[in-house]
Amino acid sequence: MSEIRTETMTVNMGPQHPSTHGVLRLVLELDGEIIQSVMPTIGYLHTGIEKTAEQKKWQQVVPLVERMDYLAAQSNSLAYVLAVEKLLGLTMPQRVNDIRVLLAELQRLASHLIWLGTHAMEIGAVSMLFYAVRERELLLNINELIAGFRFFPSYFRIGGLREDLPRGFHEAVNAFLDRFPGKIDEFEGLLTKNDIFRRRTEGVGALTLEQAFQWGLVGPIARACGSDYDVRKYFPYCGYESYDFKIPTATEGDVYARYRVRVAEMRESVKICRQAIQRISPTGAWACDDTRVVPPPKDKVYTEMEALIQHFLIYSQGFTVPAGDAYVPVEGPRGEHGCYVVSDGTNRPWRVKMRAPSFMAIQALPTIVQGGLIADVVAVIGSNDVVMGDCDR
């Protein structure tokens, strides 16, 4: 009988693998089914958005940054818009802030639904994807209502919003908020106590809080390790300090803890949305009153010379932003989304950089999966909720 072969085996996973959430490539070194080492390769979705942004006018960058993290478009644009507004020194009317909070939370729900559906599907619960996407459809309908675009609404603009809320907005949001908590119960009924799901997730891919911070992981992953760090509580923006909500945490740091944190986050998001929609009046201020940035109303453009000139300037040259730099973080669905903006005092950005939570999560992947089984890689990638558009930009 021949000798048992003991060398390790190298397996290439991705970039066209359905469970790599896009085009992530992993080179796995395996000893049987145990993972010896992992080398992630990224960059397949690099589109040079940050470089492109330097050629655009300030307002034209909003649709660009929305295409980075394509599952949480409005989280990107919110960070960008807040960073530029910080340089301009603008403050928004209360109503604009409330609408931004509402849309950012709906965006979080939409992103978490895709996470829940794909994550559960990858570890066996295929039907979860259909239930999750069915609810997300309602959120995309709301996007279509406000902007005519389902994925990338570009509804947040520097200086406020694109236009006022459409008719039927409150009805659509309230109908969703009335329906959704029952659906979260259904999702949890399918998964939380499901024996197969728990065996695939409990104790898998565990991370300590110390490790999470060392690797720059802030967001749901750190909260599943016991941290209560959330940008909305620690560095409130858009008036989050006036909302009543909790930060769900867990202490185990494994895949199952991340699942519980994110599901609890969805319930908290619904609470925030309910408070926000009650504060928002059907009509009212939808932009600040700074004439440098916000074009004058159309009736004035047609009747007043100054308004016509201002309108023409804003749409041809754009506006200038005072020289300087600003970094504004927002709590995105995947963790801290931040936008670092540098201005040289002209009408085009000098540099735009997005801080991508998926980028950091993939960097930490070898630490999380090393020593585990190859089947757990899929569970860990799903629970880290990586989006390659966010990672590669």
Binding site: A326, G338, T346, Q363
Partner: protein
């Protein structure tokens, strides 16, 4: 905590380093000389009054034609103290700076990205390879003197009719003059 207060704490912990206050509108900003970067970051992480335990990101900006040309920017976060800090390092055209992976392990990929995009070398990094761009890529795309529109003559399509010089001239003509 103001930038000056951070510098005061740092100066007693790292003797001989010349720190500078940076202008900012959002968070305290300090300039750190490259040779004192690692010692400074160690103090920033470990001193109980500072405790910047998370490196949020590393990025850079190219200020061509200013000299020194680059600024490498580190955004730090102290979860226990609810504090943020921006650390900037000025780097010249062919300059380099040390890696801070010994302080925050997560610095590896962000530094690799900065090298990939700007060509700024991080000494003792250990894994300074292309991250976002293909391995055989020439040049560093985020530099201001890197061609924006055309890298080389397209091989499978008709060449574009707008030259790089024309495209740049259009952008420059359109770029408003500095306001101050």
């Amino acid at each position: 905590m103001e930038s000056a207060a951070v510098i005061e704490i740092l100066q007693s912990a790292v003797p001989g380093a010349a720190y500078e206050v940076g202008l900012s509108v959002d968070m305290p900003t300090i300039y750190v000389p490259a040779e004192h970067l690692v010692a400074t970051c160690g103090v920033l992480r470990d001193l109980p009054t500072l405790q910047f335990n998370v490196l949020v990101e590393v990025t850079a900006a190219d200020y061509l034609p200013r000299e020194p040309r680059y600024e490498v920017v580190y955004h730090l976060l102290s979860v226990p103290n609810r504090q943020r800090l921006r650390v900037k390092v000025r780097v010249g055209a062919n300059g380099s700076l040390p890696t801070v992976q010994s302080i925050w392990r997560g610095a590896g990929w962000p530094e690799r990205e900065v090298w990939d995009m700007f060509g700024i070398v991080f000494d003792n990094h250990g894994d300074l390879r292309r991250l976002l761009m293909p391995e055989d890529w020439e040049g560093h795309p985020a530099r201001k003197d890197y061609p924006v529109q055309i890298r080389k003559a397209a091989q499978t399509y008709e060449p574009l009719e707008v030259s790089e010089a024309e495209f740049r001239a259009n952008i420059e003509r359109d770029r408003l003059k500095r306001t101050h």
